[in-house]
Structure formats: C-alpha cells, structure tokens
Symmetry: C2
Subunit: 292 residues, 2 copies
C-alpha cells in the first residue's frame, strides 16, 4: 500500500471515530432525527474533506488529534448539503453512495431537519474545541459560515446550480457555481491547519481553489464515463437534467486535458509551502485517476 492510501485509511478512521463521538446518540430523543443524522453521515462517504484537513495538518505541522473536530465539522457540513441537495424539491435522488438517500430511508421532513441539525452541530463542534485558542476558534467558525452560506459558499452554489438548469451556462458560469458549491468547503478544509497554526494562508488557498476545480472536473467526467453501479449514485444525471458540464462543453478528451492542467497548477501552488505537502500531492493524483 502506498503512503497516500494508508493516509486516507487513517484519516477516514480518525474522522469516523470523532463523528461517532460528536453526533448525538441514536438512543437520545428525537431518536428518528439522530438516526437520520447518523445514517447519512455513515452511509459510505469517502471522507475527502476530512483527508484534506489532515493533509493540511501535515503541511502546517499541526498534530492530527488537534484536527479531529475540524475534520468532523467539515464532514457534517458536507453531509448536510448532500441531504438537502438530494431532496425531491432539489435533485430528487434516491441513491447516494450506493445507499438510499436520507429522505428515502426516513422521510422528507426528517431529512430536512437532519440537514439543519448537522449544520448547527458543525458550528458547535468547532466552537467547543478545547484544543484551540478563542481567536482560532472564531476564525475557523467564521470561515465555516462563509464556506457554507451565501453569497460565498455552498448554499449560494446550490442555488446558482438550480437556477442554471436548462439555461446553457458558459464555462465561466459553471466554474463560479462549482467554486461555491463544492470549492468553498474544499478550500476551507485545505487551509484549516494553516488557520490553526496562525500562518499565512495565501498559497494553500490557491491550492485549495485549484483542487476544488479539479474535483468538479473529474466528477463531471465520471458522470459521463461510469455507470450508476460503479458510482454508487445515479450516473448520467447531468445530461438528463440538461446541465452544462465540462464534458458537454469541452468533450471528454478536452476535459481530461483540462484536469491535467488544473492538477499541475494545484501542485505548483504547493511549491511555496515549506512543510510536508506529500499527502496534498497524493490527493491531486488520486483525483486525476479517480474511478468513483
């Protein structure tokens, strides 16, 4: 097993333990709500954002244990967005990561509330982190609000994405959507340990920006090149929804070339960081070669 694969396994294990500790128990009322929050959180996610938090720790010299809550918070925020995006009024998805989506497994009302509860808990988990100074906690919580809300985060991106359906968006418009919808939280995760170490975040933010774009480009590619079984979610959805994607504008080969370029830009951004950026580099390569 290569270094990056072992790192990914360890990151997933650490954040899963933290999530299990931090999420309300299924025995605690409202049982149905807490079951739904746990169901979606533990329904087979790849823990990509937590891996970025821990990779950030390697790059900025912050011990993994001090990042467990941040890793858990970004995964909660991500899971909240997935639950709401999957709702009938939004993308209307029955499957996510090969499992029934939250509103299919439970019901729509519970799914809406599970998402709401996960957002609130993500903030709490950071605000209650005793290993961080007040100043750092505030910076992290504020950054999380920016990365999740509107006009600068996930919620804004999802709205723009819905607004763009069937409108024939340009490549620039697609990039704006993704930069908000998935990019903001990826940038935040990548820079998180730099915030903890109270060091400059310019280079790592540039890296996070490119990585977020790379993530979306490769996600679009998978949507047209893989089947639903291979993906664990409905494939071909973008085309069915008449959504503009990189492949629909650049073709598959053009999109692959763009992915290689963006990957190079991401790696270049790491050059000015003194610490150990090996895991960040490994994650870039993983994305370019991703199969799910």
């Amino acid at each position: 097993m290569t270094g990056i694969d072992e790192f990914l396994i360890n990151s997933a294990r650490s954040v899963d333990q933290a999530l299990d500790r931090l999420l309300p128990s299924e025995d605690l009322p409202p049982v149905r709500l807490h079951s739904a929050m746990r169901w979606s959180t533990f329904a087979g996610g790849k823990r990509f954002r937590p891996a970025l938090v821990y990779a950030s720790g390697r790059a900025f010299g912050v011990a993994s244990e001090r990042l467990d809550r941040i890793a858990a918070a970004v995964e909660m925020m991500h899971t909240f967005s997935l639950i709401h995006d999957d709702l009938p009024a939004m993308d209307d998805d029955d499957l996510r990561r090969g499992q029934p989506t939250c509103h299919r497994k439970f019901d729509e009302a519970t799914a809406i509330l599970a998402g709401d509860g996960l957002q609130s808990l993500a903030f709490k988990v950071i605000l209650d982190d005793e290993s961080l100074s007040d100043r750092v906690k505030l910076r992290l919580a504020r950054g999380l609000a920016d990365a999740s809300g509107s006009p600068s985060g996930m919620v804004a991106g999802q709205q723009l994405d819905l607004d763009s359906e069937g409108t024939g968006a340009t490549l620039d418009e697609i990039e704006t959507i993704h930069s908000l919808k998935t990019g903001a939280l990826i940038r935040y995760s990548s820079a998180s340990a730099a915030v903890v170490a109270e060091t400059d975040t310019a280079a790592i933010s540039k890296f996070g920006d490119r990585l977020g774009l790379l993530f979306q480009i490769t996600d679009d590619l998978l949507d047209v090149t893989r089947t639903s079984d291979e993906l664990g979610k409905t494939a071909g959805k973008d085309e069915a929804a008449n959504k503009a994607t990189y492949p629909s504008i650049l073709g598959i080969d053009g999109t692959r070339r763009l992915a290689a370029d963006v990957c190079r830009e991401a790696l270049d951004a790491l050059d000015s960081i003194d610490g150990d950026t090996e895991m960040f580099r490994g994650l870039c390569t993983k994305l370019v070669n991703r199969r799910s």
Copy 2:
C-alpha cells in the same frame, strides 16, 4: 402610548435596520436566494425575540446598539425555522403572517436553501460582531447552536412535534416539545445581554423558561379562539392535524388559568434581578393579552 408599546416599536425598528444591513442585497447573486431570505425576514414578523434581546439589555445594562447583531441573529434563526416548518413535507402552510410562505412565493428548493442560508448567516453575524470580546462571541455562538440544533434546541423540538402528531401526547410531552421548539430561542434571547455583561444567567434563564412556556400556551389559545384572518395564518391547524395542545387537554378556561400561573412564575423570577426589568414585565402582560 405606553412604555412597552413604544419599546416594541423601537426594538422592531432597530432590528429591521440591522437585518437590512446584514442580509445579502437582492442585487447580489444568487438574486433569487437573497430575495427569498429577505422576503421571509421582512414578511411582517412581530420581532418578539429581538424585543427580548433589547429588554435583556435594559435588565443587564447593555446599550441597545451593542445588541443589534444579536437581535438580528435570533430573528434570522427564527425565520429559518419558520421557512422550513412551513414546507409541504412539514406543516404545509400557504400563509404566514398574512403573506404567502417562502415556498409559495418562490419555490420549494429556494425555500429550503433560504432557510439554510439564514441559519449560516445567523452564526456569522454573531461571530463578526466587533463590539464583543472573543470570549463573549464564542459563548453567544455556542448558545445559538444549542438553541437551534438537536438535542437541545429548535430542530429537536420540530422533530418531536412531527413525531407526536396523532399520538395523543401528554401535557409533559407537549411541554418538552415546546421547550425545545420555541422555548430554547426565547430563553437564549432573554439571557443574551447577561452573557454580554458576563453576569450570572440563572434567574434570567428561569424567566426565559417560563416566558417560552407562556408564549406557547397563548399561541395554542389563539389557534382555537381566533380566525385565520385575525391571525394572518391558518387557524384551527392544531385540531385539524390532531395535535395535542393545551386547550385540547385543559380546555380553554383551564388553559387561561395556566397562562396566568405561568405569567406569575415568570414575573417572580425577575424579582432577583437588580436591573430594569420593566420591559420584560410588559412583555409578559402583552403575551397574556395577545390577540395575534
């Protein structure tokens, strides 16, 4: 005009100005999302929770200007919960405060995202408050997470409320539901200036607890005694949904007696507070006599 009426008008004006300043402009993309966030926020709310924040300022000697952001944050959090509670999958309400609900005025997806965005913004507004120390900001933001999430806040209460429909809940169960669904944010608002003043919150929390209960009891009363036109929302909903309420268990007269008792307990709790509690007292009386 009595002191309390003037106070309520001034409180509403202050928080409305703060909300207008703090909410993303309707010109800023995503325009539809920001329009929806503003629509629901300015659709005729009574600003009861902001009034509690400012009344708390009177009681604990904190100037009104230092409380504008907190008042705005609790109103955003409250509006988020209303938007989601009104959704077809939850209470399925077409009218709120005499206006179309968010998903009727816009669409369901936008309403879900507008609620999500308001929750995130509520945290941000507190975390960015430059008039407060880091320590106070953290306490306020943490308290807001507790009051809005699960197991101790609004989201938990709404889930328990949905779970209880048609089950014939006992009075104790109803009280638990309301203590979470509406009580938590009312307690938080009442105690907010005590947190800013870094003083003891025991007495004011007791007051907030009773006030929250009083709010719900009088809300239940209105649901059975007033028409939809008078309320600006659908009346008789509790009975139609076969929801247990105070009047359904205690009758109308019994519920009125309970309201008087709970009001007295709330006023008693204020006796041990040194500051100017006149507005808190006025708010209790207003609730007992409320007509909408």
